[in-house]
Amino acid sequence: MKKRFGNLFHLSSRGIKQFIFSSLIASLSIAMAGGLFLSTWKIKEGAQKSFKLSSSGFDAVLGARGSKLQLILNAIFHLEASPGNLDWEQYELIKNTRGVKEAYPLAVGDNYMGFRIVGTIPSLLTEHEWQEDTQYELNRGGRVFSESNKEAVVGSFVSSRLGLKVGDTFHPYHGLTFNESSKHDDIYVVVGILSATGTPADKVIWVPIKGIQHMEGHASEYANSISAVLVKFKGIAAGMELSMKYNRQGNQATLAWPIARTLAEFFKRLVWFEEILKAIAYLIALMSSLIILATLRNSMNERKRDFAILRCLGASRSFVTQVVLGQSLIISFIGALGSFLICFLTSSLASYFIRKETGVMLEPFTLDLNAWYVFLTIIFLGLVSGIPAAISAYRVDISKNLQHTT
């Protein structure tokens, strides 16, 4: 039995060696189809999950009248521009509203080397739990900035990218994108490096809110304005009540609440992109099935004589059929492994760029149950593609395919 299996494998792999180029193309196209499908799905799942977990422990964002999504992207993920400013009084008002557990003002508008500088109050970094029972931590030797000094706490990602360490100084630059000519005269001292959290907090530079408000070169009206307020409620009732107050009855500010639902709606908008990628993956899968089919058909034409010899030696019809199916199994197995590799590479690449752009860290690539389903589907498709050639092997005419007749 072991010998029979060994011979089966030897004969199947020989067929692949004989048609190595087309076999590799078939495996590669399977790997691309499977890899594209897996990565699309893995990145989507990972991004949805990670973005939902990355609300940094807040329930809502209060900002200028406008899009809720823009508010969340700006205040939580530090992406896009702020839709406008609020007065400091709005912060005081919501902070003192019944049902509001925590409120932190944010002011944005400057950057250092392309990384956003976000003004806030020190208690965001000392008291707020960005996830249950977890507060922000500073690397050894650091401390949180003081409210009235030109001091900064640097996110871990920024620190690693720019090499900033405690004691370093820097000049902020005006605007959200780096422009060498828009340097402020103010000088900030790094007093702490935030430990990595895998959230957007890692990719910004935190400074006292007064620093942004009173930055040299900023218009005087900024001195009393903020970009947004991050809010945590005591319970869901406060969220509903304030949502009604700001979004339905008021016309000065928008309360983006709940954050998770707004993000879910955002991801729904991206479904079309996912569908296109899936359609491409299906097309490539179809193409790779056809390549396997063509490869095995070509191989069959050349190997009919081998199969006739085998049959003459006593090999059963099912044995030669298995040889062909084994060949398609090996091609699809290599393709399936390749699809994991492609998925791992693209996920890692996507993870890097998502982290770079948003600070959100995606979960690393893991072989979960769904990945194995994809693996088995690839193997199944490979075997199905091998069936026409296998039937041809099954039907091989021994007499006709043995050379020389007398």
């Binding site: 010998k3 029979r4 011979n7 030897h10 004969l11 020989r14 060696k17 004989q18 004589r305 081998d306 010899i309 085998l310 049959r311 003459c312 030696l313 006593g314 090999a315 059963s316 019809r317 044995f319 021994i398 007499s399 043995l402 050379q403 020389h404 007749t405 007398t406």
Partner: protein, 224 residues
């Protein structure tokens, strides 16, 4: 005792023009256990078809082929596979060795379809045919004569009762042809295997005590 008995065996094919061509029409043919027989006949006269019928590669239109008392015509496909794997050894003019496999692997592969797998026996056979030093050589690395010796060893590796040799010397020069026939007879004698060699070459057939003229036992006048 008869090992092989053929009665009223008929096989015809359709020509591309749709004409029915009788290729084999043998009333009687028999071979006893351990008997050697040389069958002479011209090329294209239906000898290979006859051997294919005996080996169960082709099914006859009519007639009986009894091998060890069993009518092989009635066997199903897998029973015929077993017959070829265990009871019948086949030698081809063009050797038909599997090119991707070494000498020893060619024998082991044939053995894997039979019931008595023994690597040492396969090695012994290759030693007997003088290829002890070429076990791991691929067919393309061997001379024509050496390839035929591997083919002879392969035909006997499953200890068959009957070896069918179809123009076994057709691709060999006269010296190698003589050696191949001597070797084949020697191997079959040692293993008490019956041997039926068909050839158009009188020099090959003359090596056997029993000689049969294909045209005398085959009642067709066809050239196919």
């Amino acid at each position: 005792m008869s090992l092989l008995k053929v009665n009223r065996l008929k096989k015809s094919f359709s020509s591309p023009e749709g004409e029915n061509i009788n290729v084999v029409d043998v009333d009687n043919f028999a071979l006893t256990s351990s008997e050697f027989c040389g069958m002479r006949g011209e090329s294209g006269s239906g000898k290979t078809t006859f051997l294919h019928l005996l080996a169960g590669i082709l099914s006859p239109d009519d007639g009986v082929i009894e091998l060890e008392g069993q009518n092989t015509v009635d066997l199903n496909s897998s029973e015929k596979d077993s017959l070829r794997a265990g009871t019948i050894g086949y030698v081809f003019q063009s050797f038909n060795l599997l090119q991707g496999f070494s000498c020893i692997e060619n024998l082991k592969l044939a053995m894997s379809f039979g019931s008595n797998y023994s690597e040492s026996y396969a090695e012994d056979l290759l030693k007997k045919v003088g290829l002890a030093h070429r076990l791991s050589y691929k067919p393309s690395q061997l001379s024509i004569g050496q390839q035929q010796r591997v083919a002879l060893a392969r035909a006997l590796v499953n200890k068959p009762k009957l070896v069918l040799a179809d123009e076994p010397t057709g691709n060999l020069d006269s010296k190698n042809a003589k050696n191949a026939i001597n070797l084949l007879c020697e191997l079959c004698r040692e293993t008490e295997t019956a041997l039926l060699v068909v050839s158009h070459d009188e020099r090959v057939v003359s090596n056997f005590d029993r000689q049969v003229d294909w045209n005398e036992i085959n009642n067709t006048d066809s050239e196919g």
